[in-house]
């Protein structure tokens, strides 16, 4: 019986997905060599910095589960961030800014969904095109300039605390909670699995894959809207290129987190771990101040290593 006691933790470790192993290793490594890494202030830093990406990566998980992809998310985030800035500047109301951002984000999400589900344009191409549109609109509405002078109520969101916990962390946790509930405990979540796993099954069950698919993309846009508020709050301004490229970070987090690009196999917690792994890596490398080019390369190494570990595991 002592045998089993020893074997089982190893077994668990073997069953751990690559991303979890990588995250644990990174935390142990930086805890040992990076001064201040394990301080509460720094850990809170990592979490706060990861919220925007989390808010994109969660809906991205659902989208990828439907065998889709949303390349427009970073550009839409940029646009919604500008919306927050412009509207709250004009109306001095943070809430109106948020509403505008969520509206614009959702419209883009719906457009993506429409292009994918009804016009039947492959998701990669459809969202590549809407990426261009959102980016273009960002440049047009801002005339390529930063938007500043927005009310303090907006920036306070990023720095405020509730019960001693920074509000962005709370928003991140809340988003995760909502998505977890949505994916694993609602009918809608069940249908998201079916969208990627077997769309025919949905049709035979009398459900409309089209509507569901549009909803999934709309949620992506909506979350980009909410994240836009955080983005603006963080910069205390709106900027026409600020969020470009974040979609690839989100996609990488989803993939590293163990969600596969086919058959509707999604793992939401893995996505969160993926986001955190990238966050921890960047933070730790900043603390030990390696040359910047090493930092660039190490992001790639992290992504490859996590996937490689997963591959090893699935073969064993």
């Amino acid at each position: 019986m002592s045998d089993t006691a020893i074997v089982s933790p190893i077994r668990t470790l073997q069953r751990l997905p690559g991303v979890a192993i990588v995250l644990v290793l990174l935390i142990a490594l930086f805890g040992a060599i990076a001064p201040g890494f394990l301080s509460a202030a720094n850990l809170s830093n990592v979490l706060v910095q990861s919220t925007i990406l989390t808010m994109l990566a969660l809906p991205m998980t659902l989208i990828i589960m439907t065998e889709g992809i949303d390349l427009s998310m970073g550009a839409v985030l940029t646009l919604t961030s500008l919306c927050v800035a412009i509207v709250s500047l004009a109306t001095t109301s943070m809430l109106l800014g948020l509403c505008a951002a969520v509206l614009v984000g959702t419209v883009f999400g719906l457009a993506n969904g429409w292009l994918v589900a009804i016009a039947k344009i492959p998701p990669f191409v459809a969202t590549l095109a809407t990426l261009g549109m959102a980016h273009g609109l960002s440049l047009i509405v801002s005339d390529g300039q930063s938007v500043v002078g927005i009310p303090h109520s907006v920036r306070d969101i990023y720095s405020a605390q509730l019960l001693g916990i920074p509000v962005p962390i709370l928003m991140g946790v809340a988003s995760y909670g909502v998505f977890h509930g949505l994916l694993y405990h609602t009918r809608f979540g069940t249908y998201v699995f079916a969208l990627g796993g077997n769309r025919e099954a949905l049709r035979y069950a009398g459900l409309s894959p089209t509507r569901l698919l549009i909803t999934v993309y709309a949620i992506g846009g909506l979350m980009a809207g909410v994240a836009g508020l955080l983005m603006t709050a963080r910069m205390n301004s709106g900027h026409p290129t600020a969020g470009l490229g974040l979609e690839f970070d989100a996609i990488a987090a989803v993939a590293v987190g163990g969600t596969s690009f086919e058959r509707g196999n999604g793992w939401l917690l893995g996505t969160l771990l993926g986001v955190l792994a990238v966050g921890v890596l960047r933070n730790g490398l900043n603390l030990i101040s390696l040359p910047s080019s090493v930092q660039v390369a190490s992001v790639g190494v992290l992504v490859i290593a996590a996937m490689f570990l997963d591959g090893l595991r699935s073969r064993a």
Binding site: I121, G132, M133, V294, Q295, V296, A297, G300, F308, G311
Partner: protein, 325 residues
């Protein structure tokens, strides 16, 4: 069962029409853009501008043609742009150090090919999905290039070498010849060699391809290496055309190359597509930018207009796809 009347035969041209109609619509999209542009700007239809567009399209096409093979196997290579940057910097250094363009060209092609091969190894031996493997590779390459260049620019190459990118032969820019040559080679490889056929088969169903005795991993290695080598070739064209190399040249090349492949009708799910389609895709993208420059459209509008054109082009393409049940 066979002595009973067979089901009504397909019209004899149906096989052709599936591809031909698609090709037709894609060319139509390009033609429509041309038509609009030639009405709006009289300089558009000049021979000079047509050659100009072809020359500009060539760079995208070189990258996109190799990428087409990767996409045909249901893969993706996000590292092509970063590969161009690194290969260009290495090739540039070699030309500077040795004064020999030939050695530089070999270096560029070789560096690109090695990077492609590494992508292939990750996809086959390490079984990492290509999207992620090449995304990781993109970061690694950027890191290496940033470190290697340390913010410097390599510039000033021998006149002979410069001919490749900016020279003319019989009144046509040399890159246009190269474009035609590689279009022919690429199409021939894809349609008229057994390797090309195997690549289509792998994209359509990798498991079935393996169980049909196709050495899937070897072919994938080949495809990624070719894609990398084409990126290396693009880096040489880039180098000789711009007379310089720096670390950030690749960033703006990847997405247009992917867009060209997809607008050209190659399916991300593999097994469907042609090199010629990719050529038309590169052309459409280049035409859009050319038109906006000719018409002096406010720069802020360019991404928006490009996005809309991409949608229209792909939508036209989708219209002609045979519906699958």
């Amino acid at each position: 069962m066979s002595d009973v009347a067979k089901p009504a035969p397909l019209p004899p041209w149906s096989f052709l029409s599936q591809n031909a109609a698609q090709l037709f619509y894609r060319l139509l999209a390009a033609f429509l853009i041309c038509l609009v542009l030639s009405v709006l700007s009289e300089s558009f239809l000049s021979l000079g501008n047509i050659l100009n567009v072809l020359r500009q399209a060539s760079l995208t096409f070189f990258i996109a043609s190799g990428l087409t093979l990767v996409v045909l196997t249901a893969g993706l290579d996000l590292s092509v742009g970063a590969n161009v940057a690194l290969s260009a910097c290495l090739a540039g250094t070699v030309i500077h150090q040795t004064g020999s363009p030939t050695l530089g060209i070999i270096t560029g092609l070789f560096a690109g090919g090695i990077v492609g091969l590494m992508n292939g190894v990750m996809v086959t031996a390490m079984r990492i999905p290509s999207f992620i493997a090449t995304y990781g590779m993109l970061w690694v390459l950027n890191g290496v290039t940033y470190w290697y260049m340390a913010g410097e620019t390599i510039h000033g190459f021998p006149a002979g070498f410069r001919q490749i990118g900016s020279g003319y032969f019989l009144g046509l820019p040399i890159p246009v010849y190269l474009l035609l040559v590689f279009l022919a080679i690429g199409s021939f490889f894809a349609q008229r060699t057994t390797w090309g056929q195997e690549i289509y088969a792998i994209g359509a169903n990798p498991v079935a391809a393996r169980l049909s005795g196709i050495p899937v991993n070897r072919r994938l290695l080949l495809v990624y290496t070719v894609s990398g080598t084409m990126a290396g070739l693009a880096s040489i064209i880039f180098l000789s055309r711009l007379n310089s190399a720096e670390a950030d040249i690749g960033e703006s090349l990847t997405l247009p190359a992917i867009a060209a492949v997809l607008i050209g009708g190659t399916s991300l799910f593999g097994g469907v597509g042609t090199i010629f389609g990719t050529f038309v895709g590169s052309l459409i993208l280049t035409l859009v930018l050319n038109g906006m420059n000719l018409l002096s459209i406010n720069a802020n509008w360019q991404p928006l207009v490009t996005g809309i054109i991409v949608i229209i082009a792909v939508w036209l393409d989708m219209k002609t796809r045979r519906p699958t049940a």
